[in-house]
Symmetry: C2
Subunit: 383 residues, 2 copies
């Protein structure tokens, strides 16, 4: 734990010194101490759990700063962004692999992996710079939630195709449950919390009852999210958002402590999976490079076009913000391997694409948001 934490912070410091986002340094720390460079550390079950907790707390903390009502306002654009951000990368990934001569199901699965969006990295960058309440940031957060649900549906379809027969009823049920859960919590969460929380809290005698209730809600919604088929981090984000209008600074501070401690485990954890051993021949390397370029362009163009109605600057921000695939892409690759629909090579390519898209997003975000600080002040003054 010392190794993970200290190396992450050391690399973050180095990166901040040369004017780069520290978050990239933390991921590279994972690459560096990971099995394929220095070999000091390999992913373990414990590190994986800490890393999952880390991204859950990141999203929970972001949720605490986002009001559901504000997210609903940009709902239409977010839906467009999410839809385009699912369709374009899916067909781009599928098409490239099919043209490359990969087997049909492997191509489809690679397309599904291209759909994944890891909003953790973007959210962390935006939160640390205080950009969360800009319009583009809200669109990103809302689109990421929708994207996760849509990605789940694509994955369910492709997985059932891989298993031989497509059960449309099953898929419809999965989709319905995921959509229902997400919509219900996003729509009624805040209201319920606002009504129930003060009464419950006033009746409690245990110490730090507000934090205890917040943690219980966080864990409960994360577990429910997994049952409903969406990612635990979406549950964590929804829990934070449901609490955002009632909770005071104290819960945020306590949450910050946990998030600050665990975030490096998430970031280093991503880096630890970086692996070039699959790229033993030039053909694989070529496919990996092309897929990486397509992964960046398809999300950027797809999501950017979805948000073009908001003006060019916001469209660019949204496009860049949706690029990182992070741990979601890796989970999809893992699933493909366990279902036996992709080989070791394709697994390596998807993980490579997930790590690199995650690494390049923070500096791109920095460029895209540029001098948003001025805008921010205008926004606050006007809005």
């Amino acid at each position: 734990m010392l190794l993970v934490f200290a190396s992450a912070k050391l690399m973050a410091e180095l990166f901040e010194r040369v004017g780069q986002p520290g978050i990239v340094g933390e991921i590279l720390a994972g690459v560096l101490i990971g099995p394929h460079v220095l070999g000091w550390l390999a992913p373990t079950e414990l590190l994986t759990t800490l890393s999952e907790l880390g991204v859950m707390f990141l999203l929970f903390r972001v949720g605490l700063e986002v009001k559901a009502s504000e997210l609903m306002k940009v709902g239409g654009t977010a839906l467009l962004v999410a839809l385009a951000g699912v369709i374009v990368p899916f067909f781009a990934g599928w098409g490239l692999c099919a043209m490359w001569g990969e087997p049909r199901i492997e191509s489809l699965f690679t397309g599904a992996a291209m759909v994944a969006t890891s909003v953790g990295i973007t959210a962390q960058v935006l939160a640390s710079r205080g950009f969360l309440d800009l319009r583009a940031s809200r669109i990103i957060m809302a689109a990421a939630v929708v994207d996760d649900v849509l990605g789940l549906i694509v994955l369910a379809i492709v997985s059932s195709m891989a298993k031989g027969k497509v059960n449309y009823l099953d898929i419809a049920l999965t989709a319905g449950l995921a959509l229902g859960f997400t919509f219900f919590v996003a729509r009624f969460g805040t209201r319920t919390v606002r009504r129930v929380m003060p009464t419950v809290q006033a009746s409690l005698r245990v110490g730090e009852s507000e934090f205890a209730l917040a943690m219980t809600l966080l864990f409960a919604l994360s577990v429910l999210a997994v049952f409903a088929g969406v990612a635990a981090i979406i549950g964590a984000f929804l829990a934070g958002m449901a609490l955002s209008e009632t909770s005071e600074g104290h819960v945020t501070e306590l949450t910050n402590g946990v998030a600050e401690l665990l975030a490096p485990f998430f970031l280093v954890g991503i880096g630890l999976h970086f692996d070039l051993t699959a790229f033993s021949n030039r053909a694989t390397l070529g496919l990996a490079a092309l897929l990486l370029v397509l992964a960046v362009l398809s999300k950027f163009l797809g999501c950017g076009l979805g948000a073009i109605g908001m003006g060019r600057a916001d469209a660019i921000r949204v496009g860049v913000g949706m690029v990182p695939r992070g741990e979601v892409g890796m989970v999809v690759a893992q699933l493909g391997l366990s279902l036996n629909v992709i080989g070791h090579n394709t697994y390596g390519i998807i993980v490579f694409m997930s790590v690199v898209t995650t690494l390049i997003a923070p500096p791109l975000l920095k460029l895209a948001y540029g001098n948003a600080h001025y805008e921010h002040q205008d926004y606050v003054r006007l809005g």
Copy 2:
């Protein structure tokens, strides 16, 4: 995780409602959901790690509220308390088992297990009631640190006896290293931090640099402590104490978040180990009951007598505060099992003793500290 956290907080609430310490409720939650009652959960590697992190953060947080200089002031009394609190329980445990007809080495080992002190529980109770700066509390904290080192030496001697030959040089080296590390960090930690920290921190550009540095120090000292042979929690406590004079409220708040989240895992973890299956016959049950009584009395009388110079009220508080064996007793039992010096029965008895002494300490502390709030005000006014 939801199960652990929610059940702990639920039981804590129930206990607070009937006027009992919530901490006891959290341990009983572990007993309840554990393998021997409801069977919902068994200790896993992950839960063990979270539980270890939990007690580390508890002790770190307590350390942040304790100044090394204040601890040094009560050093003489603390030394007496720790010495008596090691000698009396050791001979009581050894004597009882020997009279009961247990094998020599098993009796000696049980004596060594009686020496263990888990200061986590006491520290948590005192901290939550704001009693940490009372004289008795300081004696307890200082004595617990010394006690851990002495306990290590007793354990080293008994373990090497169990292995056949006693290597006095080895034991002297172990003792010297442990004493040296503890003394060095306690004596010079604060000073070093006060000199080095502001310079380092001012030169850092990474976000939340103070918290990052504090966490690095916490992990580093915990790891070093384990290398030096003392418990990781002693390292965590020393790290907190070294930072206590320089750190501001912000680090404390962030630490509180982590401690609040992880403490239930520590408490539930203790309860999860509660096991009565070893007590299949009356003889074992009798020995367990007698040993439990002796465990409470020997620490209470030993430590109490060590602090009698401070007056009767403080002596009682110190005596009660040193009673819980908690996770330290369990670690010793585990070691005995792995060295093959104790059987399953003795293991069960030691774990039983560790859990029950931990359960009864909080209500006893509540009694012993009674109306210390008035005294507290006097103390602050006068001192």
